[in-house]
Subunit: 556 residues, 2 copies
Amino acid sequence: MASSSRLALPLRRIKCSPGTFQRNFRARPAAQVRWTGSTAATSEPHQQDRKGGIKDGPAPAKAIKFTSDSYPELKRDSKFAQITEEHVNFFKEVLGLQSAVIDGVSTDAADDIEPFNSDWMRKYRGHSKLVLKPGSTEEVSKILKYCNDNMLAVVPQGGNTSLVGGSVPVFDEIVISLQQMNNIRSFDEVSGIFVADAGVILEVADNFLAEKNHIFPLDLGAKGSCQIGGNVATNAGGLRLLRYGSLHGNVLGIEAVLPDGTIVDDLSKLRKNNTGYDVKQLFIGGEGTIGIITGISILCPQRSPAINVAYFGLESYEKCQEAFQEAKNQLSEILSAFELMDGRSQRLVNKATGKKMPLEGEHPFYCLIETSGSNSDHDSEKLQSFLEHVMETSVVSDGVLAQDQTQIQELWACREGIPECLGHWGGVYKYDLSLPISSMYDLVNDVRDRLTKVGLVGNDESYPVVDVVGYGHMGDANLHLNVPTRRYDKEVERQLEPFVYEWVKGKNGSISAEHGLGIAKKSFIRYSRSDTMVKLMKQIKNLYDPNGIMNPYKYI
Amino acid sequence: MASSSRLALPLRRIKCSPGTFQRNFRARPAAQVRWTGSTAATSEPHQQDRKGGIKDGPAPAKAIKFTSDSYPELKRDSKFAQITEEHVNFFKEVLGLQSAVIDGVSTDAADDIEPFNSDWMRKYRGHSKLVLKPGSTEEVSKILKYCNDNMLAVVPQGGNTSLVGGSVPVFDEIVISLQQMNNIRSFDEVSGIFVADAGVILEVADNFLAEKNHIFPLDLGAKGSCQIGGNVATNAGGLRLLRYGSLHGNVLGIEAVLPDGTIVDDLSKLRKNNTGYDVKQLFIGGEGTIGIITGISILCPQRSPAINVAYFGLESYEKCQEAFQEAKNQLSEILSAFELMDGRSQRLVNKATGKKMPLEGEHPFYCLIETSGSNSDHDSEKLQSFLEHVMETSVVSDGVLAQDQTQIQELWACREGIPECLGHWGGVYKYDLSLPISSMYDLVNDVRDRLTKVGLVGNDESYPVVDVVGYGHMGDANLHLNVPTRRYDKEVERQLEPFVYEWVKGKNGSISAEHGLGIAKKSFIRYSRSDTMVKLMKQIKNLYDPNGIMNPYKYI
């Protein structure tokens, strides 16, 4: 095989050199890069698994089922008032006609209320008849105080991209949309501190920062729709966490409104401020249950000009851990992603798409490494030296290195394309879990054994389960356990739950690594949190929202 | 001048090449590296400035003044019970004889109580007659519950290295020392997650991690004495913040005990956990006022094998900002410190020590840059290219690069030696402030102008003020404003306060960037926090500590 200037590994160790990589990828027209095997799943991507997991797969095109029908045990809390004409008149007075979307109460507005009532996955749908779009923090304060005084329940809504039904109403809660609060307030190029309204779209913020040679320290698939206030309210994780850390560290300040109308003016532009309890932290991940975030101040790092991506095969999960440790050692400050995919997930991607994979042959595990740094030559040299080391020491069996931006995207597609491809056979039971890294993959094996033992897994149509696969952000010990199925099956569900949650609890893991609680995981919090912690959380909820008007029926 | 292989700058631009650096430093015996001009300040380093600033300088060797005498407006709260024999018997029963230090109630213990009653700066001294040293979280729970039930006030104490009097009693509060809870509980080499008792000394933790090729993401001058629980309780900033971020991002879990004995079991070993309010954040920087941290879980990065340090002179504060921005650009992921020193501070260091400074000639400003990364050659190349750029574009006027570990320490001494040297003339008024980076140094000029205008600053003994200088962590926008004086002077104090605090407030800065509030800054919180924020903080305090027994007379 040909050697390469960028990955000059000893020939005896290389099963697949960059030459092969180029043959695989460069010879193919660009149009074929897109995944093709999952159009059904794309058009109707998700269906609710009522037991807390998410089923991916074709859903009927007709109107989305009301959440109140999917969750018949949820009853509208009678303490909340019904919206009257008088209420609506008050809101119109505060906000003006253009900022209220009203359905069934008045016919002033032609705007359709349905997009605010249901989520993008078409899994949750509420009965709200009123959407308010305040244009300033003061307006949020006025309407929230009025709602609190009049016992009107509300749902704060950002880009409405929640994966757990956190941003849509269940009954007739008033939707408070932040979409009209979308000003970038300031950016300091010396300190990298960015201040903006909560309703700024993540991608808009990131594009603005790109022009200033900075990045938003968070990246998500939903970046084109999600809002930065929503990102902070849900403590979004995403793709840059390994490198830049969590929002609890990066968010420097928050402006928020409490149910009683109090404006929490904690929009600090300081990196250090040790003057009292860090109250703003409660709003990070609070999912709009104690107040509405209206503005954020966040520390943004410099944009890295050099990005490199490698993809490799490994013989065991132990080798993956060794590779991760070695990557942290040798790539240290430039490591920006370390993703794990088991061989089964890659085989199903291959089956679903028919697409040739980057490596020849099959391996039990694959990892994707991304580096980003300020000097391309240095980073390539580090990555090459890392790859030589892990191949010489047999940690890694085979590997390829992307040579250009297109190849970078194609390697990333092997990881990012998984969720879509797994829907190819019908549906998917999905779990977003945090586990101690050493035992993370054991869960996948245990679930597979369990389902196999009772005869649920097989290669032909008589078996409901296609396979049990695992992938995720290895760098963050965040596992996505996925069970692609040919059809929904009560027995599969009985085998999965509460088994998976109990398993996670046994390892002190988390049943929601990055997606939050919303409505989907509300009932399962005790698998991740002790009674004491739940009690402390309820105290916080009662402290800030004694009337319980904020995002009811969800969270804890 | 000689050119160098490490800093090959065009000759015309170099005023001081690495050759000069070597001449300055290498020819001198190692023993001379130590600062010598401030022995008086060393033996009695600090005296309380009652108006909130800190006076450095010789203090009488006699017993330390009681805090209750320095702050006569503080009265013992009569709601707290006096310690009785019965109380002591209960504690002895729970802890055993060896874990209680008793003074004036019983003579069982020979251990001296004074070190627990006063701080290392000899500024604060309490009247406590009882020190308890629990050995487990359960013991902490039992004694705290008892104290709460019996209205006995307590002061949690870690390494007792507070700079604001946060860790010593004021009156007869019971000291709860964490020193016997010093076990390292676990370390995961793959994830870098370290779990330990609160009483583990920071240096012990860091040495343990060094053996595993990791570092604790926090470094402090007091590392040999301070405890990691205390670091978290005070949200310590320190030297690694620019690179690794704050404890709000790095601390993954906390085990703490509330006044009512509740054990907050939030010692997560997960990097991601989005299941409810992040309650533990309230304990980070809570200064022991809502509970006692007994264990922490923290994410530790890989140790960087390559460290480089450069020191350079600049003509204006604007150039310092340009250099910082350029350093973030070019050094990005390897930049681990960017420190600012004004020319006046360096001149006083030179006057106090007689020591030759790294650069010839004088410059209005100096900066120190440290890089740390995984590859020494790469880092040197980046730093060299950065230095070439900033010298060619006249951002930096002159610079030197350390060639070995000794030189690294000597360059750092130009920054770290400042506080000690400034005490040379008598005392120092000191302020630890966060300010927007663009206007950070304006405060130093404004204070100097103000004191000069009223005739307080001059070169001979008739003037109280020697000079007004500024230095600090430029990377964190953390300014240390220092006013070295020949003697304490009421007029100087009147000119400084509230002027400094009002100036900081006008820029939305913080009156305590990293030292916390303790007793020293309790009265000044409103200069950094609005009435709303103070109200929200008091709510938190009342929620967790309704009896107010935790670290009373301090914080908010």
